[in-house]
């Protein structure tokens, strides 16, 4: 699927919870689960575009779910219906779809963003594990695609009190997909490795070009230096080195 440059129009931009926003762009877009787009709705400040993974693709809209962290996402959060935005994508390699047997998806915080579209594309047979700080979000959007939902919060306000990795029961999965905080993904990798389960990890890294040219997002993997933007952001579990 060839990436393209687009001038998009904002359909909606909703504050879901705390500093999490859902941005919808009008139009027919392409992309696989786990791929991303580079977005910018500003001229020169900040200098770089922001990579956001595809949260959903519908007939007439492309959805992103993002957390406001800095200058760029803060500007994005002020977008309104009708505003224009520059998009570049779809970029990178997404999740290979493998649901011959039961699939486990483990996502933490904003790491759930690429998982909605993944669930939709996998076509059933999924257990979903969502870890959150205070308040789970977007779970209503995911429920219809999955068999069982497990939730944890740091505060214990909803679901299990503690880390999602504590209640991750891998007995039944042939494939696991994960995206979220590094310690969470590291734990999942450790668990899956012991059981010889195929694991796919979606990595996050600051990017400049987003297309594979600048080597700004390179990471060391077991199969050499890889670019998160071009060779990833999804990697096989065994490729990722969380610490040297």
């Amino acid at each position: 699927m060839k990436p393209k440059q687009y001038k998009g129009i904002v359909l909606s931009n909703i504050n879901i919870v705390d500093n999490i926003y859902e941005l919808k762009i009008i139009g027919k877009f392409k992309g696989n689960p786990g791929q991303f787009y580079m977005l910018r709705s500003w001229d020169l400040e900040p200098f770089l575009s922001r990579p956001l993974s595809i949260c959903n693709i519908e007939e007439d809209a492309l959805t992103f779910l993002y957390e406001v962290r800095g200058k760029g996402t803060n500007i994005l959060s002020n977008l309104r219906n009708g505003d224009s935005i520059y998009l570049l994508g779809p970029l990178g390699r997404g999740f290979p779809l493998d649901n011959r047997r039961k699939v486990g998806i483990v996502a933490g915080g904003i790491g759930i963003a690429p998982m909605i579209y993944l669930c939709k594309s996998l076509n059933g047979n999924i257990d979903f594990y969502g870890g959150f700080k205070e308040k789970p979000f977007y779970m209503d959007k995911i429920e219809k695609y999955i068999d069982k939902l497990y939730i944890s919060t740091d505060s214990g306000k909803e679901g299990y009190k503690g880390f999602i990795t504590d209640i991750f029961n891998l007995e039944k999965y042939s494939t696991v997909y994960t995206c979220g905080p590094i310690p969470m993904m590291e734990k999942i990798k450790y668990i899956c490795e012991k059981r010889d389960i195929s694991l796919y990890i979606s990595m996050e890294k600051h990017m400049a070009c987003g297309v594979g040219a600048c080597f700004g997002c390179s990471i060391k993997t077991t199969s050499g230096i890889k670019k998160v933007c071009k060779d990833g952001p999804v990697f096989k579990g065994e490729e990722i080195i969380f610490r040297d």
Binding site: K2, C209, V211
Partner: protein, 298 residues
């Protein structure tokens, strides 16, 4: 109207993509044959993994990078990447990096056997610990390096200067004396950033290279001053993001320009710049780009 012959090579327009910011991946966004030229990433003798830790950091009006010359090595480049690049109807410029004179020479000897028409010698990478940078700071050292390289280089040689040179005019003059066929000005400026939460420099190497629109006025001044004292072609580079920036460099004395960080704003930015220059030249009834090279200096 926008074509230009420099170093005996015909460029269809004066717009070249800068080393380390552009690759064949951009073919997905526009036909690369539209470009005046493509400058490769910095090639070293052996494959380089580049630096560990954070590699890019945004600043106001630009970005700091500490990539550390990640590249597949000259042999892999020649066998795996060059054949595809040669399909594009554009001038391929090999950017040569290295940390010793011997390394530069070995890389250039390998490039001598290719069809690449032009070599850009990077004596100014701030992100490689040993050597490299020192060559670009002291003009006497640069003189020796360029003299040695010229002895083996069978292609026209453009020397890419560092703005961190002790004296940019002396540096340019010495490189010229040593036999450089052209100069590109400038590489990135040495800069740094501090992570106030960790209370440490952002980059493992502490110092990184600053590029982007924030450096343009200084880089432009350097092109302007250097072009007054040398009689070899200059390629202007530093913070160009539109055709107006490019024309400023040309009017300051550059025969061609390179687009670097601007590629990160929009992959097809070079195409916009080419079209903008063409429109300007037409509207101003300029018959050849040559008419306006250094026109602001006269």
């Amino acid at each position: 109207m926008t074509s230009i012959e420099i170093f005996g090579i015909e460029f269809k327009n004066p717009v070249i993509t800068a080393s380390g910011t552009f690759s064949q991946d951009y073919e997905e966004f526009f036909p690369l044959s539209k470009l005046g030229g493509i400058c490769t990433k910095g090639l070293t003798l052996n494959e380089k993994e580049g630096n560990t830790g954070i590699r890019i950091h945004e600043t106001t009006g630009g970005l700091l990078n500490s990539i550390g010359l990640q590249n597949p090595g000259v042999d892999n480049f020649i066998s795996k990447e060059l054949p595809q690049m040669e399909n594009y109807d554009t001038v391929i410029i090999a950017n040569v990096g290295g940390s010793t004179v011997e390394e530069y020479i070995k890389v250039i000897e390998k490039l001598n056997n290719t069809n690449i028409p032009l070599i850009e010698l990077n004596i100014s990478c701030p992100n490689v610990k040993e050597g490299g940078m020192a060559f670009g700071i002291k003009s006497d050292i640069a003189f020796k390096v360029v003299t040695e390289v010229k002895k083996v280089c069978k292609k026209p040689l453009v020397v890419k200067l560092s703005p961190n040179a002790e004296n940019i005019l002396d540096m340019a003059y010495k490189c010229c004396e040593a036999g450089a066929d052209g100069l590109s000005l400038v590489n990135t400026f040495s800069g740094m950033a501090i992570d106030i939460e960790n209370k440490k420099p952002v980059f493992e190497n502490v110092i990184a290279g600053l590029s982007g629109p924030c450096i343009k006025p200084i880089a432009l001044r350097m092109v302007y001053e250097v072009s007054k004292i040398v009689n070899i072609p200059i390629i202007g580079v530093g913070g160009i993001i539109d055709y107006k920036d490019a024309l400023e460099y040309i009017m300051a004395g550059a025969s061609a320009v390179q687009i670097g960080s601007g590629n990160f704003i929009k992959p097809s930015i070079s195409l916009d710049i080419i079209n903008g220059i063409e429109k300007f030249v037409k509207e101003e009834n300029i018959k050849s780009i040559k008419e306006i090279i250094g026109i602001a200096r006269r």
